[in-house]
Symmetry: C2
Subunit: 276 residues, 2 copies
């Protein structure tokens, strides 16, 4: 999915919500655990229930890999399900990959070709040749980690850089934005640090930001929109646990839909107030 299509989906659906399918088998409703394929069954029902309110789905690959081959099958099947029934959804493999050039190429092949994802999250530490292989196909995106929403973000991402006014994550932004364009790169910026969005938008005014940490991690949607939104919206706000594990009865999908709808309605209001 390309930039224009993504912006169109956002304005059409009145939402910049990304639902995070961090599907932990220990947290899904117990009645589902008897299903032939509990993880896929859970995802299918969450996808069906929330897709009217979400423009994107993000699959955290760790949760699938931890179940070995079965998990990998669930991941592929879930992505295929979205592609088949909700072809206008933007699909993100939250894999945080990044390796030397020939290896990153293999990852690009795995996630873009074999699995038809639209985007993959990438760690910046290994530099340009670890990111470039993800920028070579039209309508495919690298989403680079900039400022993450965890405590460890302050270990390295916010240390000052010699001879510069920037801290590390700002240097990552200003250097890496030259490797691609707003049409094939986004950045992960945690919602827990809304005050950082101002400087971020000075460095990358036009790129999309993937914002985790709204909901369970305590970020505030209005603050994120205030400092992060641009004239094409430029935001995908992810919520995982606060939606998918909001309830663990047989109605879990209905409750997930309600939670997603609540966010979508807030997003509609925010889009309007910024003229979108």
């Amino acid at each position: 999915m390309n930039y224009k299509q993504l912006v169109q989906e956002i304005t059409k659906k009145r939402s910049f919500l990304c639902v995070g399918l961090d599907t932990d088998i220990n947290k899904i409703p117990s009645f589902l655990k008897k299903a032939d394929n509990p993880v896929f069954e859970f995802n299918k029902r969450i996808i069906d229930a929330t897709s009217p309110y979400a423009v994107a789905f993000k699959l955290n690959t760790a949760f699938y890999e931890s179940y070995g081959v079965q998990g990998w099958l669930d991941l592929e099947k879930s992505i295929k399900y979205i592609k088949t029934y909700y072809p206008d959804s933007f699909i993100i493999a939250d894999a945080k990959r990044g390796d030397i050039g020939n290896t990153s190429k293999m990852y690009a092949k795995a996630f873009f070709e074999s699995m038809s994802c639209d985007a993959i999250t990438v760690a910046p530490y290994m530099g340009k040749d670890s990111v470039s292989p993800f920028l070579e196909s039209d309508g495919k995106w690298a989403i680079l980690l900039a400022l993450t929403s965890n405590e460890g973000a302050f270990d390295f991402q916010t240390i000052g850089i010699k001879g510069s006014e920037n801290v590390l994550f700002e240097t990552v932004l200003s250097k890496s934005k030259l490797w691609g364009t707003k049409e094939n790169m986004m950045y992960v910026v945690g919602a827990t640090k809304a005050e950082s969005f101002k400087k971020i938008r000075e460095i990358i005014p036009d790129h999309f930001l993937l914002v985790p940490g709204v909901g369970a991690q305590g970020g505030d949607l209005e603050q994120v929109a205030k400092y992060g939104m641009n004239k094409s919206c430029g935001l995908l706000v992810n919520s995982s646990r606060a939606i998918i594990f909001a309830d663990n009865t047989e109605d879990f999908d209905k409750i997930a839909a309600e939670k997603a709808k609540e966010m979508q309605l807030q997003m509609d209001t925010l889009l309007k107030s910024y003229g979108l």
Copy 2:
């Protein structure tokens, strides 16, 4: 495998060689492509041929993931094969993972419990809570990226840190060494920058270093030993392409064994000259 056992294996086998199973199906001998399971068949023969000369095997997960579920099966089967027939080998999942705490926990489960690897490579960008989950099991290791062997290493890893004499990768070393011990942490340091080993050894005199880039990437074994070896050896030197793809005839495994033996003999000499 714990620190003591690893050092014992090195002194017993007279080798600190790690064979990298970066198995690209396009590069394996064509006669093998007709096998039921070409990637596993290739790995099996490389493992059998090189294990007398190697103390460790490193599996780059990208190469397996790019073949989807079949690749994941090949990865698991190859690891199981090493565990079963060469239980004294140190097995590294070169996965370069790293995510927020609860997600890193899932990765630790995937690679340490489900697959019985001894170690996993981890990217440092997300800080302490992304690394700590890999340090919680006896005899299991996190191998943190410090200075990688690719061109992009100079984009961020070598930039100066404000108020410090260190560049970024040195700050990664000095900060992260406090998160674990020499018994559960190693560091990736590319062989292409042997001159950097001196400062690295000032910061982390006792930790093991996993050194890629000898062979195909042009690093020099003597230089690495000169600057990087410590009193317990403290080195695992990885070679992938220069061993596993040295030949593509029916004798590919014999040639791989010869290449591995050449390195082992050099390593024996180096170990002796440093009193090990």
